[in-house]
Amino acid sequence: MNYFSTIRNFLGSALAALLLCCNVQAAEHAGEYEVKAVYLYNFARFFEWPGSAFTDDDAELSVCIYGEDPFGSALNRIAGKLVRGRPLGVTHLRRGEALAGCQVVYVSDSEQLYVQQLLAEVRKQPLLTVSDIPNFARNGGVIGLKQVGNKVRFEINTAAASAATLEASSQLLKLATSVIDSTQ
């Protein structure tokens, strides 16, 4: 047997094995923001908005990204999905832009400094506020995401939700790592 071809075969299969195996590992994990985008979709499913939150029965359910967008193309996959008969729409808002017309607002990390001001301003609007910013739910946001080990978990503030006239399904409350019932 040719010595070099043996080595080449061996290296070739080793490389292929390595790549394929690694690929499996890659797929078992999912990108942080791919998963978080699907979370946004799921949160929308588990909340109920008052009819007054929408302009009409055909209006889309608008997911607004407030500040720098960490999702990239991951949001394209939730746009158009149907939630309670309404298609999800995705809108980007710059700092300071009005949140009227949004139903779900993801507050980006870039707004950390302004988050208290923002929450005070939108407290009674029918907005489902979601953020990665630490202590978001404790500070009056509806849902705070947090990473526990390699998993994404969430806290929910029911007082903030009812101030926003939103109703969370009991199933969602069971899945939350903690349920907060106060707005500071």
Partner: protein, 675 residues
């Protein structure tokens, strides 16, 4: 052999089957129940590329993870992964670090900040890298901006800004112990942090580094061993109204040895000594940031910084007090305005030795104001940044440093930017007030046939002006996929009033030697151009490849009729080409291997005294790191650095150096335990 192949084929099929299953799973992320989603493991693919995609400047970020992966034992070493930045280690405790050309131990066109505190030395230009000894794990990220950043950061941010940002005390609670033992250095770190109230966290750390001496090309000891002790603390507090308060400080003490060549105009002309440099630095910084509305905030920062440094060349004591105010607000739909005012008061006092200062003590102030507007010209597509900084110093007056930047984002995945900016480099105290001997020609020799020795002195000039730059830059960023990002930049820089060294008339002093004074003038011009490429690729989850490549061309000229003794040598001071590739492989959950390959083109370090510098040859080198996490709170790593050669002459100091010292191959083992 055959059975091995069979096993591989079986493994392949296994993997293939697993692979298709996994693909289905990925496709159906939406069909997972919420419970299943919550149990999914996620990976963060560095947020940095996405965050940077709309910056209209050539920015590279070294994250905490990159730092750990690199195996670097200091910030200086880690900077080798940045495209367009040249790092040349001169001896065990000296580095020449510069961006886009003009490398030198006293590289004066790069501004370096640690948490908003400038560590650019006003006395001698440049940065004393050896005393910037941070606990690497405390660093959140190092932002490296190539090109002028003067509109925001002020004078001396000419070729680049390095912004070292440490982690908030809230992110470093608990304890950490690290010990590292190597062929050339020993280090130990203790850190402890915790919350002292619901809103406030503190940490404190103590680090000790003991580095061995290197060797000269002919195998003699380099006499450059050194020890540093560093005590640091940081407190972060977030008030219920959203106010953020940070107080931090450092105390550092160092004993640094160096072989120096001291020169005298009369016999014995030249004396080589082993000098022990003693240094002590401390600083204290406070920053208060308050949100005013959903789109405006202000911040107020104050720091004091004290550096004391005594060596055989000269002694120096530098005191700086700095106050900065910044206010950001949205104006109408389209404008995001940032403006600020700054005041800095500097006192420096020198002790004349080989380098003499006159006057020895000076106190002066620096007043500055800037405004910058980020204009959204077309929402989500085109952003225009326009701004200027005016800075007044007592030597060269007001420096106006404007810039204009455009960034066009045609889609989610790509952006194109371009910028024109002006920046100036203000004179250092050495350039204004110092006098130093840089060479002696002994009498009755071929180079000096007359019976008197000739002594060459470089003399500063209180009239020395600022060096000026106009920079043209452009860049393109493209995310092929979440797993592959490219960042490409090109630049063309035009410098004027660059420092030149011009020979004056000789004079006979005391009938014992001829004194020739070299004067500093602003007669140099340069054009530099280059390109820089950074790429990050994760072909699969377990593989992470980071590539940096850069090219540089420097063309230096002097005003006709002027003979310059120094700067012609700056043309090759930085390498024309550089490549860095870091490849990381997660062998398993708790074991990873990182290999770092580098190519650096030949360099000719600059020289003050008109001596033609040697051309140090180009080189390839290789580092590796094997790290193992037997438990989540334990990390053990083995690192090899500069593996391809046993020793290499990598850089030279422009003056005073007694020896050419080589950087050796080295190994170290490190253990970290968190609790």
């Amino acid at each position: 052999m055959r059975s091995l192949q069979k096993r591989l084929v079986a493994a392949l099929f296994c993997c293939l089957a697993g692979n298709t299953l996994a693909h289905d799973q990925e496709r159906d992320l939406f069909d997972l129940s919420f419970e299943e989603l919550l149990d999914l493991e996620v990976t963060s693919v560095g947020k940095k590329s996405q965050k940077l995609s709309d910056a209209a400047a050539a920015v590279f970020v070294i994250t905490n993870e990159d730092l750990i992966r690199s195996g670097a034992t200091s910030v200086a070493e880690a900077l080798r992964m940045v495209p367009g930045v040249s790092v040349q280690q001169i001896d065990a405790n000296k580095w020449s670090i510069s961006a886009r050309g003009f490398s030198s131990r006293f590289a004066n066109k790069l501004l370096v900040l640690i948490d908003g505190r400038s560590i650019y030395t006003s006395s001698f230009s440049g940065v004393y890298w050896e005393v910037q000894d941070l606990v690497l794990d405390d660093i959140d990220r190092i932002e490296v901006i190539r090109g002028p950043g003067a509109t925001l950061w002020g004078a001396n941010a000419v070729n680049g800004v390095i912004n070292i940002i440490t982690r908030s005390a809230r992110e470093t609670t608990g304890g950490m112990v690290n010990a590292s033992l190597g062929t050339d250095d020993q280090q130990g770190t203790l850190r402890y942090g915790g919350s002292i109230s619901e809103n406030t966290a503190v940490r404190t750390s103590l680090k000790y580094v003991d580095r061995d001496e290197y060797e000269t090309a002919d195998g003699r000891p380099g006499g450059d061993d050194w020890q540093i002790g560093h005590l640091a603390f940081r407190m972060d507090s977030e008030r219920p109204g959203g106010d953020q308060l940070t107080v931090q400080g450092d105390y550092l003490e160092g004993r640094i040895n160096q072989n120096l060549s001291l020169l005298y105009p009369t016999a014995p002309y030249q004396v080589a000594i082993n000098d022990r440099l003693d240094t002590e630095t401390w600083n204290l910084l406070g920053r208060w940031q308050r949100p005013l509305s959903v789109s405006s905030d202000f911040s107020l920062q104050f720091y004091v910084d004290h550096v004391q440094r005594f060596e055989a060349l000269f002694g120096q004591e530098l005191k700086t007090a700095d106050l900065e105010f910044q206010h950001r607000f949205a104006w109408g739909e389209r404008n995001d305005i940032l403006w600020g005012l700054g005041y800095r008061y500097i006192t420096n006092e020198f002790e004349s030795r080989q380098v003499e200062f006159s006057p020895e003590r000076r106190s002066y102030s620096l007043v500055s104001g800037f405004v910058q507007n980020d204009i959204t010209a077309i929402k989500d597509r085109l952003k225009v940044t326009v701004g200027a900084k005016v800075e007044h110093n007592e030597f060269t007056g007001a420096e106006v440093q404007p810039n204009l930047r455009f960034v066009w984002t045609p889609g989610d995945r790509q952006s194109l930017w371009t910028a024109v900016s002006k920046a100036s480099r203000t004179p250092s105290r050495a350039e204004l007030d110092s006098r130093l001997i840089v060479g002696v020609l002994e009498p009755n020799t071929i180079t000096n046939p007359i019976p008197f020795p000739i002594a060459l002195y470089v003399e500063g000039d209180p009239e020395f002006a600022s060096e000026e730059l106009t920079a043209y830059e452009a860049g393109y960023r493209f995310a092929f996929s979440p797993r592959l990002n490219l960042d490409f930049a090109i630049f063309h820089n035009r410098y004027s009033a660059l420092r030149t060294v011009v020979q004056g008339d000789p004079a006979l002093v005391d009938f014992s030697y001829v004194e020739t004074t070299l004067h500093l003038t602003n007669d140099g011009y340069a054009e530099t151009s280059g390109l820089e490429l950074a790429a990050e690729w994760r072909p699969v989850q377990a593989v992470h490849i980071q590539l940096a490549y850069s090219e540089l061309d420097v063309d230096f000229r002097v005003r006709p009729g002027v003979t310059d003794l120094e700067n012609g040598s700056l043309e090759r001071a930085s390498p024309k080409r550089q490549l860095s590739v870091i490849s990381g492989l997660e062998v398993s959950e708790d074991l990873r291997l990182d290999v770092w390959a580098r190519y650096v083109d030949a360099v000719a370090p600059p020289n003050v005294a008109g001596v033609t510098p040697p051309l140090l040859p180009d080189y390839w080198d290789l580092d590796f790191q094997l790290s193992w996490r037997p438990a989540p709170n334990w990390r053990i790593s083995l690192v090899g650095q500069n593996l391809l050669e046993s020793r290499r002459l990598e850089g030279l100091q422009e003056s005073f150096a007694a020896d050419r010292i080589e950087v050796p191959r080295s190994y170290y083992a490190s253990v970290s335990w968190s609790f």
